[in-house]
């Protein structure tokens, strides 16, 4: 009996001592800091973000300066990654090339997230015919390949940097909306929602003040995942000639401009931009995965 009560007492009394540290370690940030995937991903993303911001000030050559007497030169001490078809320094171009993609992709993602969150909140909160109609519309949009939809709009409007950001943002909206709607559905039957309604709060207040703060984690994860896709989509659009305009050193554009000479053995005109794009997408995805795990725990 006493042994049992001792044991029960021990069980109930012992946790308080380690509890603070446990709680501290269980914060999202703590989990992230112990996740190698997240740390590696964050390091890659920060590296490219640093390049996007400051590369123009420290690269060895002007990324736009041509040299027609030194075209397609292989990597050397003077040009670490060689030169392209009009003699521009590939190394300088790859570092500075982070700038466009890291401006457009976050903007597009932000736009997609904001719009998607609004649509998702409305669908999840109101339900019924609003949910049914918007839901079918979203299904229609998602049935078309994302890049095709983006291409059609860009062909109609003509390519420009703001257009690309807006188009990709709009294309992502239904994807984010679907995730947010699911999160809202799991929240809206919890007591605090009817309680707010009983208090006489309006729909807008309930959606954005009551529900939204509780569904942040999935939105943040979704945003990060979308950022990875945005980078990939925008690079694809640039490659197809509907993204960033020349003479930008943008990676997708650089691959498009130079892939024709790849079979000639001039790999250095294409490989650095390809590796850069891949590393950024992988970096963002590692961050997304880390966040997802942290949120799940």
């Amino acid at each position: 009996m006493s042994a049992t009560s001792d044991g029960a007492e021990a069980a109930t009394t012992s946790p308080p001592a380690p509890a603070p540290t446990m709680r501290k370690e269980r914060t999202t940030l703590g989990i992230l800091m112990r996740s190698p995937a997240f740390l590696i991903g964050a390091a890659i993303v920060l590296f490219w973000a640093f390049c996007a911001a400051f590369a123009p000030y420290f690269v060895p050559y002007d990324p736009l300066a041509d040299d027609l007497l030194n075209t397609l030169a292989p990597p050397s001490a003077a040009h670490w990654f060689g030169t392209d078809q009009i003699g521009r320094d590939v190394f300088s171009r790859v570092l500075v090339g982070a700038r466009d993609i890291l401006t457009i992709a976050p903007l597009a993602t932000l736009l997609g997230t904001v719009l998607g969150t609004i649509v998702g909140l409305v669908m999840g909160y109101f339900g019924g015919w609003v949910d049914a109609i918007v839901g079918r519309l979203i299904e229609v949009m998602l049935s078309l390949p994302l890049i095709i939809v983006a291409l059609m709009v860009l062909v109609a409007l003509g390519p420009s940097t703001p257009t690309v950001a807006v188009v990709v943002g709009l294309v992502f909206t239904p994807l984010v909306a679907r995730t947010v709607r699911a999160a809202v559905l799991s929240e809206r039957h919890l007591d605090y929602v009817p309680a707010a309604a009983v208090r006489g709060e309006g729909a807008l207040h309930v959606m954005f003040v009551e529900i939204l703060p509780n569904i942040w984690p999935p939105i943040i994860v979704e945003t990060t995942v979308r950022l990875g896709y945005a980078i990939f989509t925008i690079a694809s659009l640039s490659f197809l000639g509907f993204g960033v305009q020349p003479p930008s050193p943008d990676w997708g554009l650089a691959i498009a401009e130079n892939y024709g000479v790849l079979v000639g053995g001039f790999w250095w005109t294409v490989v650095p931009a390809t590796v850069a794009t891949a590393s950024l997408v992988v970096g963002v995805n590692l961050v997304a995965e880390g966040l997802q795990r942290a949120v799940a725990e």
């Binding site: 736009l64 300066a65 041509d66 027609l68 007497l69 075209t71 397609l72 078809q85 009009i86 003699g87 062909v155 003509g158 390519p159 000639g241 305009q245 020349p246 003479p247 401009e257 892939y259 024709g260 000479v261 079979v263 000639g264 053995g265 001039f266």
Partner: protein, 553 residues
């Protein structure tokens, strides 16, 4: 010496004034050998007659450029970009469709790679005194693939079809102001007379392979060319599959003698890269045209032969002359002075081209006045001109297409313009968006104040001089309006005699150099790639590939 004079006298007998004039020009050294051949052919001297003249006077006879030592038989496989639109001789407008036409059809006159006209379905041709009526004699041994004989009726119907505005032919751009509907008349079963809108000294070029729509079809042509392809050419249609390719078998009854090959296989591709890989991998024997940008792996490769033809294909960089920042000609001159042309040719074409001098008179044209001073890069002078024009720089958008080296050249122009304070923003779009509806107001090409357009090779500069530059020109993206220029071009087109053409050409070149409505940075060579076992093929800078004497293996 006395023998030469005797030969000369014999040769002159029976030649008209114009023909004798050409001979005089040649003998006095005003025409070189090539120009003599070319201009003589244009006024109707046969190649044989000119060869006789040159031989008689101690020059080399004209020899066939094609040495033969390949085995007859077999199939040649040619890679090209898929033609856009239907294959119809009336409407074909690209160098891919014309390659299909040319396998099954013949022209009245052949414009060879040396720009010398040679007889094809016509045996001879001659102008009246002022060059306003040209008479063509036809071969009498030509049969269509369905077995019927070709007569003057077929020729009249074929050319009238192209000249009829209702048919919307691609050839109308060339025929405009030259030959109208009703101008083509049968004289007898094997003679046709062309009554022109205005005198034209180079009219035979308009009926030659240069005008690639002008293959001769039966008078009762149904309009369904893809199914029949009933022409007079060296190969007959076996199978045509849109977007995939076409196969042809040899026409044993060909008037020029049966071709050596048994079959021709054309394969359509979407892009240059797969063609290059197909050639390197042995899946095709010929690539119709390769660009320097896309085929670096083919140069200096022992497994590939590159056939390099000088051409006048070029890029036109237009600047709006009536309004906007380029309205002052000094600003246009300044812009033209920023380009380092020899470096462009070296860097973009590995030297396979020649520099342009801001007029369409490429060095390859015999009428070009080569004494006109070449424009070279001069930033100090350009800056001075900008200052004289009262500007220190401005922002402008440069619009062009996503094809070949155009985006690279656009980037180079941006850098060059920056040297004199002009900030160029690039707008590179696909060619459909660039050309738009090809009418002012609905076309980035014609509406952009600063832009660049590609122009293919032609046998004579006439289209280059009229459509993009005359006040009423339909392709006048520069909005260039100059009465003196219009008058000079009319004179040039009418001039029958090469000396007269050259004199007017010099005036046009100097006027354009001064006004600079359009920058012509370079004329690049036409490159065809083949595997080493291909022999005897004869490409032209228009995009045709003559295969009658070709062998493979």
């Amino acid at each position: 010496m006395s023998r030469i004079i005797r030969n000369l006298g014999k040769w002159r007998l029976g030649r008209n004034d114009l023909e004798n004039h050409v001979l005089d020009a040649f003998l006095s050294g005003r025409l070189d050998r090539r120009s003599f051949l070319r201009h003589g052919a244009c006024v109707g001297l046969s190649v044989a007659a000119m060869a006789a003249a040159m031989k008689g006077f101690g020059f080399d006879p004209v020899t066939s450029a094609l040495a033969q030592n390949g085995k007859p038989g077999g199939t040649i496989r040619i890679a090209l970009i898929a033609p856009s639109g239907l294959i119809d001789p009336v409407t074909v407008a690209d160098q891919y469709g014309l390659l299909v036409l040319q396998q099954v059809g013949d022209f009245l006159v052949l414009d060879g790679p040396d720009l010398v006209l040679k007889p094809m379905l016509a045996t001879e041709w001659s102008p009246n005194e002022d060059g306003s009526v040209w008479t063509f004699k036809l071969r009498d041994d030509v049969k269509f693939h369905d077995g019927r004989k070709m007569t003057a009726d077929d020729v009249v119907a074929s050319i009238e079809r192209l000249a009829d505005p209702d048919n919307g032919s691609n050839a109308l751009s060339a025929f405009k102001g030259v030959l109208s509907k009703g101008g083509t008349k049968k004289v007898d079963d094997h003679t046709v007379a062309f009554h022109l809108d205005a005198p034209n000294g180079n009219f035979p070029y308009y009926l030659s392979s240069d005008n690639y729509n002008a293959i001769i079809l039966p008078a009762d042509y149904s309009g369904n060319f893809e199914a029949e392809m009933n022409g007079t050419g060296p190969f007959k249609l076996e199978k045509y599959t849109p977007k995939v390719g076409a196969t042809f078998v040899k026409n044993a009854d060909y008037w020029g003698g049966a071709p050596l090959l048994d079959r021709v296989e054309l394969s359509f591709y979407d892009d240059q890269q797969p063609q290059v890989l197909a050639l390197l991998g042995g899946q095709v024997d010929v690539i119709q045209q390769v660009t320097v940008q896309g085929s670096q792996s083919l140069f200096n490769n022992p497994a590939v032969k590159i056939i390099q033809l000088p051409s006048n294909a070029h890029r036109e960089i237009h600047m709006k002359c009536q309004s906007g920042p380029f309205a002052d000609k000094r600003v246009r001159q300044a812009m033209a002075l920023t380009l380092d042309r020899p470096r462009l040719v070296q860097g973009l074409f590995r030297g396979m081209g020649v520099v342009g001098n801001d007029s369409p008179f490429a060095p390859i044209f015999p009428s070009t006045d080569k004494t006109v001073e070449q424009r070279v890069k001069d930033i100090a002078k350009a800056k001075q001109l900008m200052a004289d024009a009262g500007t220190s720089g401005f922002d402008v958008t440069f619009t062009t297409m996503q094809i070949q080296e155009l985006p690279a050249l656009a980037s180079l122009i941006k850098n060059a313009a920056a040297e004199i304070g002009i900030n160029v923003n690039l707008k590179i779009e696909d060619s459909g968006a660039y050309y738009g509806d090809a009418v002012p107001g609905k076309s980035d090409w014609l509406d952009s104040e600063f832009g660049m357009t590609d122009y293919g090779h032609r046998g004579i500069p006439n289209v280059f001089l009229t459509a993009p530059l005359k006040s009423d020109g339909t392709w006048n993206a520069a909005n260039f309006k100059n009465a003196e220029y219009d008058k000079l071009v009319t004179d040039y087109v009418a001039a029958l005699d090469l000396d007269a053409q050259k004199e007017v050409a010099g005036k046009i070149q100097r006027l354009l150099l001064d006004e600079t409505p359009i920058i012509y940075p370079y004329f690049y060579d036409y490159l065809t790639a083949t595997s080493p076992n291909v022999q005897g093929i004869q490409p032209t800078a228009m995009g045709q590939i003559f295969l009658e004497k070709a062998t493979v293996g």
